[in-house]
Amino acid sequence: MLNKLLKYEFKSTSKTMIPLLLSTLALSILTSVIMTISIRNIESSIEENALSNVLMSLFATFSIFSLFAIFASAVVLTIFLFARYYKNFFADEGYLTFTLPATTGQQLTSKFISGFVWTVLGMITIIISGIIILLFGTATSGEVINKELYNVIGNILSELKDQVGTSNYILYITEIIVSFMVSCAYRLLMIYLAITLGGIIARKHKILSAVGFYILISFVISSLTSTVTSSMFISTFSVIDEDEIINAFISIPHRLLLFDIVLSAIFALAAYISNYLLLKKKLNLE
């Protein structure tokens, strides 16, 4: 049944998501082409003329707008996911969703998986767009890619690799990726939970209440997290003596990343379970 739900879920979300992500990529390519043309124009034109000035300012405006548009696409993606969750579960479409022969767990899991996949794909798209604009858009004439910037980034990374050792370096990257994924999952599930709370508890203004619940949950979690994190920091640093300082520089990021992963995973699980129980025991489509 979960397979069927997922198939249906991706069938309907991809109608919006794929064009959105592809147009974001296309826009970043277009922007980087326009930026390259502008840069070459600046380099080649020794004497200024009115036409090239107008053209330049047009190009600059376009680049700024398209950067905004790329970030806006992330916002649109997020809003689309949450609007869909609300509509499928708590608006009229809920009358079909909750009369399908699927368990509450299957319904929630299918929403989680599709939301997670699209969020991660969205993030990856934004990162790729950023790389395209930064590396290709700032290339000087005669080059396809900004070699200077490419070398700087490469040097920083290889320096870091030398300092901490290859195994630590690989571990860092793995930890960063895992922590990024887990925190995506956790944020997604938190907002789903807030929408469920709004949908189930509030009799009117369900969306507004969901926003309220989200602020409340975020506040509780951030105060919890900061208390736990600060006490962990103190306990970590208090045991370091001067001889261990180099080791500490390597081990502390590991600890912090691992700590972040565990904490986010706990919050994600807690959000999933409370959401599941609310949908199972308190569902009321009025």
Partner: protein, 232 residues
């Protein structure tokens, strides 16, 4: 005879106000039953609890001996009083959804009924008129081979010709073992197809019985009886 649906001591409150108040009722298998009551009497609340869309405040509901869950959703074909189509769907899309999710869905029958109604399967549902959307939903619901059909106000918002079509669809698609519960306040139109009826008011069952027996004993129609019982 075994009952398909049993409700005992059922209560449902909406922010403190009772919608169902100690409701006790059981419905036998193989009947077409009218769930009749004035506006706000609890008809929709009862149906939505049985369909699994509302959680009762207290009391129990069993469908074929089981509490609302995946098994009961497999047995129940529910026609809500609102439309649940996603905006992107074509008629074909929703047919596929029903065919994939419900093992008892007869897609050939549904396609046949759509064709006779002149509905093009490639059309987007949101472009159809309100009455046509209601027909699409009814075709979907009646094309399942369900044990229990819950039809909430199936003829509420449509013209008399469409009403005839809907009632006809219900009767012709009905098989002997299944039960149909029809909630409505348009009793005159519906009483000719009913076997049994229950009157519901203020969240409680007021009276009920076999349509023919009541007609014979009292020499009045159910519509007249309703007007008598619920006289304002």
């Amino acid at each position: 005879m075994e009952n398909i649906l049993e409700c005992s001591n059922l209560f449902k409150y909406y922010s403190g106000k009772p919608a169902l108040y100690n409701l006790n009722v059981s419905f036998p298998k193989g009947k077409i039953i009218g769930l009749l009551g004035p506006n706000g009497s609890g008809k929709t609340t009862l149906i939505k609890i049985v369909a699994g869309l509302l959680t009762p405040s207290s009391g129990t509901v069993t469908i074929n001996g089981m509490k609302p869950g995946v098994e009961t959703k497999n047995m129940i074909s529910y026609l809500p009083e609102r439309q649940y189509f996603s905006s992107w769907m074509t008629v074909n899309d929703i047919l596929t959804v029903f065919n994939e999710f419900y093992t008892d869905f007869d897609i050939a029958r549904a396609r046949d009924m759509m064709q006779r109604l002149g509905i093009t399967p490639e059309n987007k549902i949101k472009t159809l008129s309100k009455g046509t959307k209601e027909k699409v939903q009814l075709v979907l619901v009646m094309s399942r081979r369900a044990k229990l059909y819950l039809l909430d106000e199936p003829i509420g918002g449509v013209d008399p010709a469409t009403r005839d079509y809907i009632l006809n669809t219900i009767i012709t698609n009905y098989n002997e073992d299944s039960t149909i519960i029809i909630s409505t306040h348009l009793i005159y139109e519906i009483e000719k197809i009913l076997d049994d009826f229950v009157f519901i008011n203020r969240g409680q069952i007021v009276m009920g019985g076999e349509v023919d027996r009541v007609r014979a004993e009292r020499n009045i129609s159910i519509d007249e009886l309703f007007r008598e019982v619920f006289r304002c």
